[in-house]
């Protein structure tokens, strides 16, 4: 019997039991759709995060921050603004270092008031490090003393043209000073907005943010009455591993291992390894549903085997060989696996896109708070890689076939006379 005849015979058998075959196929569809939806969504998320990080966190940078501090007990030694000099002296691989000072303040601009982080930074140096993101969309980033630079979401929080802060607006920044046991005291700083940054989007670590408000570091030092900074961003001359490692080591040594040094590349590596673990986990969960579908296929094929025992007897009496009987049953599973995988991939892909558009993670991640209610848009576009596509296809078919092997083998081994006698 040639392949065409085997396939059309198998197809005819499937067509006879449409409902049963569709339900079996549905099992495969659900499994494959789950795998494709989860993996393409996770791939999209990973791509988004990676791109955002590369944007907001140039790969040629290192971030030096005080050790500990966050839940890990007291920060070991404070990092000072002047420590940038120490770092810049480290060697030829360092091209610049900029200190960042961050404090939560109460802002008053154009009649609106909200709480947000104020970032003190050396504008000129910051611009050299983040040359693609610390860029003015309106106005000019100038280093006048009262100059204030704001992120795009401070300018237009809802992205609908409702401008709450613009170039030349005056900004009142109120900071509550606390020292020791003395009563708290409010200090106010007044600045003029000289620039609105172009939209950056998404996350950032150390780099400029759409929700940032920037003042010159010298002003920040005076206003906050401190030389302590929250981090120092170091611009390297190269982003190869050797440069990153040697500078990281040199910085740690210079500060007696009392600081931690984070590299963008290392963070990206960690994220990608975390994602591969997440993918594995997600694929595992989805794989279980496919396994259940496989058991369904096996179950249905054993039932079908019993119903068709007599038919198999007839085929054998007509001279059909064992392997042809086996092929007919396996073909039925392959057809189910093929249809299930194809429909599953399509519906999984559709599902991922629907979720991305309307769903759980899609929309907005609330970034501001209270009155500002500024939102940062992070849109995730699901990505269906060829690996996931082909892998899901192959997996669907392989699972279908594996679970069909036993029933098909049993069918092929039926003794003709017993099969014919079967009622």
């Amino acid at each position: 019997m040639n392949v065409n005849d085997v396939l059309s015979y198998a197809f005819g058998a499937i067509k006879l039991r449409k409902l049963r075959a569709s339900l079996t196929t549905l099992g495969v569809i659900i499994g494959i759709a789950a795998i494709v939806a989860l993996l393409s969504f996770s791939q999209g998320l990973q791509d988004t995060i990676t791109v955002q990080l590369q944007k907001g966190f140039a790969t040629k940078t290192l971030i030096v921050s005080p050790k500990g501090g966050l839940g890990g007990g007291e920060a070991s030694i404070p990092l000072l603004v002047s420590d940038t000099d120490t770092i810049e002296k480290i060697g030829e691989n360092v091209s610049a270092a900029v200190a960042i000072m961050q404090k939560t303040c109460f802002i008053n601009v154009n009649g609106r008031a909200f709480t947000i982080n104020i970032v003190g930074v050396d504008f000129a140096k910051y611009q050299t490090i983040y040359e693609s993101t610390f860029v003015a969309a309106k106005g000019n980033i100038t280093s006048e003393n009262d100059s204030v630079v704001i992120g795009a979401r401070i300018h237009d929080p809802w992205q609908n043209g409702t401008i709450i802060a613009d170039v030349d607006y005056m900004v009142n920044i109120t900071w509550t000073k606390r020292s020791g046991t003395s009563p708290s005291q409010n200090k106010t700083y007044t600045g003029r907005i000289t620039a609105v940054l172009k939209e950056i989007g998404g996350f950032n670590i150390g780099g400029p943010s759409d929700l940032g408000i920037y003042i010159p570091i010298s002003q920040a030092q005076g206003f906050f009455e401190t030389d302590e900074c929250s981090a120092i961003v170091v611009l390297l001359k190269g982003d190869d591993k050797a440069t990153i490692d040697s500078v990281s080591e040199a910085i740690k040594t210079a500060f007696n291992n009392q600081v931690s040094v984070t590299s963008a590349t290392a963070v990206l590596d960690i994220i990608s390894s975390v994602f591969s673990n997440i993918d594995f986990f997600l694929a595992g969960i989805a794989g279980i549903s496919l396994l259940v579908a496989g058991v369904g296929i096996m179950n249905i094929m054993i039932v079908s085997l019993m119903e068709r025992t007599r038919e198999i007897g007839i085929l054998k009496a007509l001279g059909m060989k064992n392997q042809t009987v086996l092929m007919i049953f396996l073909s039925e599973a392959i057809i189910i696996g093929l249809m299930g995988s194809a429909i599953g991939i399509a519906s999984g892909w559709g599902l991922a896109n629907i979720v991305a558009k309307v769903g759980i993670f899609g929309g907005r991640i609330q970034g501001g708070n209270q009155a500002a209610a500024a939102a940062t848009q992070i849109s995730i576009t699901p990505v269906l890689t060829p690996t996931v596509f082909l892998g899901a296809f192959a997996f669907g078919i392989i699972v279908s076939v594996i679970f069909a092997i036993y029933p098909a083998w049993r069918a092929s081994k039926l003794k003709p006379v017993e099969a014919l006698r079967y009622e």
Partner: protein, 233 residues
Amino acid sequence: MRVLENMAKIVEAVNLRKTYLLGKVPVEALRGVNLKVEEGDFLAVLGPSGSGKSTLLNMIGALDKPTEGKVFIENVDISTLNDDQLADLRRKIGFVFQFFNLIPRLTARENVELSMAIVGFGKSERRKRAEELLEMVGLKERMNHKPTELSGGEQQRVAIARALANNPKFLLMDEPTGNIDSKTAGEILTLVKKLNEEKGITTIVVTHDQRIASQAKRTVQMLDGLIVKDVMN
């Protein structure tokens, strides 16, 4: 008058024994059967239920294996054949069953074509031959009907057409008229007799039907797993 020496021996059973387990009770269906069938013969096997007729037919048709003894088909001992070789052998045997055993979802023509598809004939060739065979058994107009849309007699004629599709060495019929009315049974008998006489197709029929027995060239009477009478008509 038949001249036995000149005729080729097509089937030979030697001391055939078959023991089944019916539950836990062993049942001796055949207890030492010897039979020779020559080419062109029309043999009717008669006997009450349980006398071992169908068991003998299954052995000759390579559908079942004897517990003891040997079956030779064209002088080949079929106990030496593996599953694939047995399948090849069955392609050269035309089976007709009491309950027709057509594939319900296939039309009459597709059922006839199926046996040729198994052997590996191409689509157009087998379609042409299926139509010729169905015309020969008088079912040309009904060939696109499914078995459920055909009467018992029509189904049996489809089964005969199917059995003839691959030019078998011989036809094995198990109660071919056992499940159809007597008028149709008469037509079937006429067809079988015509095939034997005109085309020289060797035919072995297991039956209760005395009319078939009277039309056959030779009748074999079985009782309790043994051949008790073997006569030429």
